[in-house]
């Protein structure tokens, strides 16, 4: 069944474009720093140089190599994105499924909380929390971002599970003496799997964009290099107004390419799977 589900995806041109772009950037992030062994933090006297054979993407005000920064930045941004997505998915899945399975007051309370978080301007709260943390590791940033993007997903999971748990096949499994755990694993999880995957992809986007936002406002990770930090330095040191395009254009392109490719993956999955599900 799994291969049956995957195959139509690879017949979809848009999906192939999306996944190729994403894999390309993923490889840049993973392999870039391995093969391009320039220290992104090393300061040299070659500052603010436009792209050349020595520095393919030029250097910044401190003479650091932009290409090396880009590779490390992609790596960190993806890392933060993935981590934030994992956190959001876990919270969302737990809240959504508890709500759906326990019903009653548990459901009422969890949904009230979900709605409150949903209406809370999450970016603002994230900024606030980050502002109080003096040292912000990549992980801390991911946690801050992950804590606020789950509500819509929890609601969707709840709705899906609610409809699944009133399906006859779930009753039939219960009537076949299934324990709750077995029921969840065999009948409930597979139904929400595609949706959960699609949401996970969008959460990565949220994480990457969120990191860039936090960084620009001065609240990004305090160590390491991310795409957002590159942009922040460029803004701080007036790279834009001084026309040092090689410094702020590449990280932006990387952000747009990664998030757009993930977006394409998610929407094409929706296109491919939804009509199928409706037919059944």
């Amino acid at each position: 069944m799994f291969s049956l589900m995957i195959r139509p995806l690879f017949k979809n041109k848009k999906f192939i474009i999306g996944i190729s772009i994403f894999i390309f950037f993923l490889l840049l992030g993973i392999l870039g720093p391995v093969f391009y062994k320039v220290d992104p933090t090393e300061m040299t006297w070659d500052y603010e140089q436009p792209p050349s054979s020595e520095h393919p993407l030029g250097t910044d005000t401190y003479g650091r190599d932009v290409l090396a920064q880009l590779f490390h930045g992609i790596r960190s941004s993806l890392y933060i994105g993935f981590l934030a997505a994992i956190i959001s998915s876990i919270i969302g899945t737990i809240v959504g499924s508890f709500s759906a399975v326990k019903k009653g007051i548990t459901d009422d309370i969890l949904m009230a909380i979900t709605n409150i978080v949903l209406t809370t301007p999450s970016m603002l709260i994230a900024i606030l929390i980050a502002s109080y943390l003096k040292v912000r590791s990549m992980e801390a940033v991911a946690v801050i971002l992950g804590l606020f993007q789950w509500p819509w997903y929890a609601r969707a999971i709840r709705a899906q599970l609610m409809s699944v748990t009133s399906r006859e096949y779930v009753y039939l499994s219960i009537m076949a003496g299934y324990s709750d755990t077995k029921l969840v694993i065999e009948d409930l999880l597979p139904t929400i799997a595609t949706y959960a995957f699609m949401s996970f992809v969008l959460f990565i986007n949220g994480g990457i964009m969120g990191e860039a936002g936090l960084s620009l406002i001065g609240l990004g990770p305090t160590q390491g290099i991310s795409l957002g930090l590159m942009l922040q330095w460029a803004v701080l040191l007036e790279a834009v107004r001084r026309g040092l395009w090689w410094w702020f254009v590449p990280p932006g392109i990387a952000i747009v390419a990664i998030t757009a490719s993930l977006m394409i993956i998610s929407t094409t999955m929706d296109e491919v799977f939804n009509p199928k599900l409706r037919e059944e």
Partner: protein
Amino acid sequence: MTFKPMLKFLLRRFVFLLVTYIVATTIVFILPRIIPGNPLAQMLSNLSRVAQANPEAIRAAEKTLMEEFGVDKPILVQYGQFILKALKGDLGTSISYYPRKVIDLIVPVIPWTLVLLLPATLVAWILGNTLGAMAAYRRNTWIDKGVLTAALIVSQIPYYWLGMIFIFLFGVKLGWLPVQGAYSQGTIPSFSWEFFVDALKHYIMPFASIVLSAMGGWAIGMRVMVINELGSDYALFSEYLGMKDKRIFKYAFRNSLLPQITGLALNLGTVLGGSLITEIVFNYPGTGYLLFKALTTLDYPMIQGIFVILIASVYLANFLVDFLYAWIDPRIRLGQEE
């Protein structure tokens, strides 16, 4: 016609938003007190760095700060004081601009943010929805595919990066528009024609960058929604009755707008966050820029103050959107929601 259900709906939304707002402000209050590493102590130690190096002034500031945060009292009392003061409009004293009051610093920058944010958000919403609806109406034509692809990519461009590209292209390379600020340095805001033209020139790029990158998302959502509505039973029946295509399309558009309004409400926070950063990129003298300054100087009373106001405005806007929604959708007005 009775408006009771509508009032009931609005009352319920109001209570919900109030509760949520209280939760949010409680977070604002509690954070500095629970975060490890005691930010309060850090704040005090920072004082000497940021305030003028006058020891007396530092001590005075320290005293105000201690009083305002009321660290020596039980936390519930502190909380009560915080709320009471906030209700009176007293948001404490700024550190970096000591001894000016936070509220006095925030009030003058708010109009700048509103002038940028409100029109940009509305224009993006209207343009995006129109484009999305057009794409749906001409489904599977090149217009549809073009709009969809463009929207998909544009919606992924962060406002602020688009802003940077604009500054570089139109400001630095082409020199058409000023590269920063809300008006030229040296001019004093006034209601003169010259000032208006000057401000407008500064306004175009930040405005356009927000509009462009925000409208893609609306377009995508609207397109899907209108396509669904056009395939719904009432659209079919209207067609069978010989209703004009344009009219059916208007129906679909109208019914798709309703969820888009909810979407607008839910997105206000994100939109606000994005435009704050846009302000930073453009050195635009709005709330975002003030917040940025406060963050870099660790002016916590100011940060708190800004957040109390920003969050309140998000909820206020939310409530206005609810009002609009109830006004447009008869199902809510007449008490048959969800």
